[in-house]
Symmetry: C2
Subunit: 563 residues, 2 copies
């Protein structure tokens, strides 16, 4: 799928690493890291790109796998007596680490092995494969890559690499069709989502996830507690470790690449939220807090954490350690509950690493700008550099309807200081379920925030994109300016709203300032007429040319032929 006529998907090198090549009208090209994927027929899914790499390592086995149950698809499936599934593609048996093996990218990295996934990632990022390996080995980066999701194009999350963006999809109430969910996935990925979380909580949850995984070229994350709660009919106190573990295995066998686990919501932290303005705002956090209080027992995700690590290691599922006690208002930012939980997440990070399991740590939420840096500094210090994955944060609470923007401000700032991945926020945050347009707006907003951070960090090559676009702008290559834009469709539509004619695409002005007041045109005229090709030549050139210019009439603009 391409979003602009000047875009082509090009595959580079032996590993056929895809980039979006932008063909410019001046004969140059510009290559952009892309997450577009090759496109798929929803009923058949994507080809399993990574299958040969996994096979070649010869350290996994296929097995019969867990029996699918009706409850996996919720009440509707139970009512119907069958799951709904029009899948037409192959069904692969699940795969896991062979006895005695550990198949995580971290394990390989620590053995000094540069996997094909690492080489692929290095090419996408334009860096040395050894940097990828060493960062993964140290836990400072993760490559979410479940062996049961061979359709995914490997990507890396870590502060030494491009800042990534996650988009959440999935319905909260009455489910749309499964194909519609795949459509949302494709839409998010087309616009640049680097990973997608399927947060479905409605009916057909197992099948929806299956279709999403089979069609996703990006890693898929989930929050298994949501499905586990569905399985106990929404009664949090009925949750048990066994039901949760079964759900994790179910999802790991399907190929989920990372899972949010709220293991840091400890019983003793819950009272710390009592005086907060907005209490507990994480769904998973509030569920686990309710469970802890109901049973007056420690969070079972914490007490069974090592068992979880063993499961995760067998499939290479990465932890996304959930911040169940994140602040939901700027008033609650960086408080005792939040920082207490972060200490526990740091402890859990080390426990996961002892199993060679990959970990990222989730962060807030709602944080005033002056407290943003502290969040990432503490997380990086306490968690020994494990990648930070934040939701925004929103820099103010006063603008529901615009929280993609209030949060992009916080997101760009926290990413500049070291956050590795940003979870998008859409304009509907706090108000309702995002639709397809909201998904696009959220992704684009977060891509620009992530890129602003890359530029601020001086990430190698990041500013090349800005420079290519600015150069096209200054040279009035309108088509190139649109093609290079993060959202070419919107850029062109906005321009064409007032100047739709094709010859306006080469005009030396737009309707914003009009021809007389286009500073870029005047600035170019000045350069041309005064021989300002370089700063050295300019001083001399401008003296020579000034008389000549006045003789010519001295106008810095020419009346345009199109108005």
């Amino acid at each position: 799928m391409t979003v602009h006529p000047a875009h082509t998907r090009v595959e580079l090198g032996d590993l056929k690493v895809p980039v979006t090549r932008v063909e410019l009208t001046n004969g140059e090209t510009f290559d952009r890291y892309t997450t577009e994927g090759p496109g798929s027929v929803p009923e058949q899914g994507l080809p399993p790109l990574r299958q040969p790499w996994i096979d070649q390592r010869d350290d996994t086995e296929t097995y019969r796998g867990r029996e699918t149950q009706l409850v996996d698809n919720g009440k509707a499936a139970i009512r119907r007596g069958s799951a709904r599934d029009e899948w037409q593609g192959e069904r692969r048996p699940p795969r896991r680490a062979a006895e005695g093996s550990n198949v995580t990218q971290m394990h390989y990295a620590r053995q000094g092995i540069v996997t094909t996934e690492m080489a692929y990632v290095a090419q996408r990022e334009g860096c040395d494969p050894e940097l990828v390996r060493s960062e993964v080995a140290a836990g400072r980066a993760i490559i979410p890559a479940n062996v049961n999701h061979p359709e995914s194009e490997p990507m890396i999350i870590g502060r030494r690499f491009c800042v990534k963006v996650n988009a959440n999809i999935g319905n909260s109430a009455v489910t749309s069709s499964i194909a519609e969910e795949v459509d949302k996935l494709t839409h998010a990925v087309t616009w640049g989502a680097d990973t997608v979380m399927d947060l479905s909580t409605g009916d057909d949850i197992h099948t929806t996830r299956e279709w999403i995984l089979r069609n996703s070229p990006v890693p898929i994350g989930t929050v298994p507690i949501y499905q586990a709660l569905e399985k106990v009919n929404g009664e949090a106190d009925k949750l048990t470790w066994e039901i949760f573990r079964d759900t994790v295995v179910e999802q790991a066998e399907q190929g989920v690449d990372y899972m949010t686990i709220h293991a840091g919501v400890l019983l003793r932290y819950v009272p710390l939220t009592a005086e907060r303005v907005t209490g507990i705002v994480s769904r998973g956090g509030s569920i686990m807090a309710g469970w802890c209080l109901a049973h007056h027992e420690e969070n079972f995700l914490y007490t069974h954490f090592d068992e979880l690590c063993e499961i995760f290691a067998a499939y290479d599922v990465s932890f996304s350690l959930g911040d169940g006690l994140r602040p939901g208002a700027t008033a609650d930012a960086n408080d005792a509950a939040q920082l207490g939980e972060l200490r526990t997440l740091a402890e859990l990070t080390e426990r996961a690493w002892a199993h060679d399991v990959q970990v990222m740590v989730e962060g807030p939420g709602h944080v005033p700008l002056n407290l943003v840096k502290e969040n990432v500094d503490l997380q990086q210090e306490w968690c020994h550099g494990a990648p930070f994955y934040t939701l925004g944060p929103l820099a103010t609470d006063i603008a529901p309807g615009y929280d993609h923007i209030t949060s992009a401000i916080g997101a760009a700032t926290i990413a500049m200081h070291g956050t590795a991945m940003l979870c998008y926020v859409t304009p509907k945050e706090h108000l309702g379920l995002p639709n397809k347009d909201d998904v696009k707006t959220g992704v684009i907003t977060y891509k620009l925030a992530a890129h602003a951070a890359d530029v601020a960090k001086g990430h190698p090559g990041a500013r090349d994109w800005d420079d290519a676009l600015s150069k096209a702008r200054f040279e009035f290559r309108w088509h190139d300016q649109f093609a290079l834009a993060l959202d070419p469709v919107t850029a062109e539509a906005f321009h064409d709203e007032t100047l739709p004619a094709e010859n306006a695409k080469t005009a030396h002005f737009c309707s914003m300032c009009g021809p007389k007041f286009c500073s870029m045109r005047i600035s170019q005229d000045v350069r041309d007429r005064f021989g300002m090709k370089s700063a050295d030549g300019a001083e001399e050139g401008m003296k020579q040319k000034s008389e000549e210019f006045l003789e010519l009439g001295g106008t810095v603009y020419v009346e345009p032929s199109l108005r």
Copy 2:
């Protein structure tokens, strides 16, 4: 004009300082600083609020004033042989300082006088009038208040006060009707613009500005070089000091409160732009650069700066020292041309202050996030704390169509570090002329950025708004959440897109997470059931309640009646 049924305009104290009072459903009220204005009939304008204050000082005189010329309204007026003007209100003669008087707010402040304008401002800001006086006296804040714009409600621009937002209006090409321009002004002000710049460059420019001034409750800024260039038919080399001075007097007599003057674009700086990616991107900057090169002479705005100061002092026009050499691409940020000009703006600031003329200094533009703080630090140091007024800056160049967001990121950051006023950027930036919807989007985006900065600065009372909204959110007072939102209309519309029923406005969830997964509801249930009214009581309460809770069935949600 009110934007929400729960909003009323309330006038406080003897000076009748307006605020927007939000009536909450729990019986409380919340007062917001407002720029809404009392509303006007365009053909008749607003009442001259400040006229008695000006009269009482008894240091001004009315006079015949400059004769209006057809060229003041551009080519169309010349063609028609008459200006277009259906004005039905009073025509006041222009007013200026009486012989030997200086009528600037800075002059009064330096005399130790707290003017009514200062007292009014102090009430709006909720601070001591002496703080206002001392900041204005020191040049660290300005109160743009031309004696010929008595309709304006005084406001202050300075880093010790709320961060302000300016909206640009005015057409670039074919002019809409004059009434339409007034409509744009009102729209910008309703949504929160603290000042408005009229950048009209088309026909009927004098009359349009007259109507805007007579209807504006906020200070109006202009860039007089635009009109001056129209007067010489767009031929920059034909510009002269005399034509420019005449234009400044014309606008000062009308009541323009601040004017952008590109006096820092010196001949010797122009060659420094030769190797830039995007040259000179300020309209005024490129015009003056062209003039300097054409004549090989120093910028006449610089050479006649003291004369300008004398004019400004006579009307209390404030300088907005234009950054004609600001960067137009992140590649050009903080370069020699930009910083050279800033040094000159610092010099001009001191020269203006010698005349007791109020000054703010304009800033960029396009700046990567890592260089933003340096901009405001250097400006504050070199210009001795004169208010900084920045355009964004855009933190990346890759997102035309979303430059309200790329720039809001930079704007919130630069304001947090001390910028006093932010010039908005609309989604149409770089692409076309903003329409009315774009004006609103730009204003709202910048208001949230400004407020995020106020919160980050710990500005007294700033976070109260966030807290009031967050509290309404946590308590499911949906109507209050909408009424407190920066844009109540959009917030309510987004909510109602999926849950339009009136009973959904008290429901303990929205469509985003649905009833089962609403963390706020679960969190409240947990609090209620475990007696968590405070952190102290919570520890004990939760033990007692846990058994009771399990006996009751232990569910953390109740199936909702509305889905």
